[in-house]
Amino acid sequence: MRLETRRTLYGYLFVLPWLTGFMLFTLYPILATLYFSFTDYRVLGAPRWVGLENYRALLADADYFWRSVGNTLFMLIEVPLSVVLGIGLALLLNQRLRGQALYRTLFYLPSVVPAVATAFLWLWVLNPQNGLAVPMNQALTQLGFSPILWFTDPATAKWGFVVMDLWAIGGVMVIYLAALQGVPSHLYEAALLDGARGWQLVRHITLPQIAPVIQYMVIIGVIGAFQYFTQTFIATQGGPENSTLFYALYLFQNAFQFFRFGHACAMAWLLFLITLVATYLIWKISLSRVFEEAVGD
């Protein structure tokens, strides 16, 4: 056997575990999902071809499908919030201070708590009758505002999840912290010599340097919003009044509670397309901005 052929054979043998997994659990399911999305498929009986009917039905469904899209889009508010809070915390934790290791551990800790326990915890903390929300609501009432009822009120239920997720920001913060530590110190030294101070250093050195990480985190954040599942499944099951019926939850309900496999697969493929488009757009926008900044200065 020729050396080249043998090398290729060995290469494939080494990647065989992953390649098998890829074929069985990624490639085949993607294609199967695409096929099922064009069929009427329930638990009993074989899939029956219906063309674009599932997609048409979904796109015409304002009560559930579009509601879930709207709810999910609302959660995108977390993306800028987590960029600002994540970088802010990382900047604080990146200073040379005594006890910094302890601070870092404390901020990271909430993201170690399993999602099920996190959901429980916040249901109880934000419980408007007995939780930690009580003193806050008393203060609000005294100031003449109406109390916030969090998960029990359709108007504020989504904010409960925003608070819950920002609490577990440690995972994001650590990535920004690593990025900050990767910024070469000679850049700061040069800027200090040029007379830059405080916020100017952050604006002109730190942020441009960590821009690729921010971009990556924004993409992950947008994709993550469309996959948001465990917390809503546990805490609200989509309620009250479908105000927390998020895309991934409705997809799950279609697949495993209503057993409308065709609908679920159509939603899955739409999700796939949304993910691709979002990734592409963020990529393009931030690349052109980076380019403009390079030319503009």
Binding site: R7, V15, W18, F22, L24, F36, L121, V172
Partner: protein
């Protein structure tokens, strides 16, 4: 003077924020130790009038904690072993072997990282149902033995930092790639392998959707799903619920504190959330 002011301000901000972040955890622990009659009060009570340690006893017996712990451990340990074994050879092939198709498959693997799990979940479920594996641990364990793109990428990133001369020297001595991987590269990569093992373990431990879909019989539940089931049945007994939540969370916090450095390294290596 200005420097001192900044240090004090930074400490003040950090202490204040850390306090806010720790408040819910303190409330969880406090609630878990309250007797039933001290649960619903007008004012916020942090230290209960009587410390109700028995809540933990009750929670651990009404909720079959030890059984769920055993199930979770079986799944998490096998997942961890399978992940390490099945990710090392592909990572080595992508990092250190020259073969036709390497670039193509590496690109394919990276692009699967962005794929939402919902896209594949239903056909995979139907596949396991066809195999008769629903309501067993197999759908949660077997895929771990067939590689994981995140971890292969992570190991590959580590492998390319190893000195090429060591690998070359072994090749000249007549070592095959298989031997180089297990005898030379793997022992040199202990920190990276430990990180992968740790993440595989923790993700398996906290996985919710997998056990939710595949396990029906309450005796087969993992801690995550068992906890959710417990919530459904004891919705108003918040002291018991919080005790159960503390018990499920504590081992993970322990693992985190013990392996903190590996966690941070893993996150920086991959840019992944924990």
């Amino acid at each position: 003077m200005a420097r001192w002011g900044r240090v004090v301000a930074a400490h003040a901000a950090l202490i204040l924020l850390a306090g806010v972040f720790m408040l819910p955890i303190a409330w969880m622990v406090s609630t878990s130790l309250k007797p039933d009659d001290a649960l619903f009060t007008e004012r916020i009570v942090w230290i209960p009038p009587r410390i109700a340690w028995e809540n933990y006893q009750t929670a651990l017996t009404t909720f079959p904690f030890w059984l769920y712990l055993r199930n979770t451990l079986v799944i998490a340990i096998l997942t961890m072993a399978g992940t390490v074994l099945s990710c090392l050879p592909p990572a080595y092939a992508f990092a250190r072997m020259r073969w036709r198709g390497r670039r193509f498959w590496f690109w394919v693997m990276l692009s699967t990282l962005m794929l939402p799990p919902q896209v594949t979940i239903l056909p995979v479920f139907l596949l396991f149902r066809w195999l008769g594996w629903v309501d067993t641990f197999l759908p949660l364990i077997v895929p771990a033995f067939l590689g994981n793109a995140f971890f292969i990428f992570m190991l590959r990133q580590f492998f390319i930092t190893l000195p090429q001369e060591v690998v070359d020297a072994a090749r000249i001595d007549g070592c095959s790639d298989w031997l180089i991987l297990w005898r030379i590269v793997a022992p040199m990569s202990k920190p990276a392998i430990a990180t992968v093992a740790l993440f595989a373990f923790v993700w398996s431990w906290t996985d919710f959707m997998g056990p939710l879909i595949y396990l029906n019989d309450a005796s087969k539940f993992t801690l995550a799903v068992g906890l959710q089931y417990f919530l459904g049945r004891h919705g108003e007994q918040w002291n018991l619920l919080m005790a159960a939540a503390v018990v499920v969370t504590a081992p993970l916090v322990g693992v985190f504190l013990l392996a903190q450095r590996a966690f941070v390294r893993g996150i920086t290596l991959t840019g992944l959330k924990g």
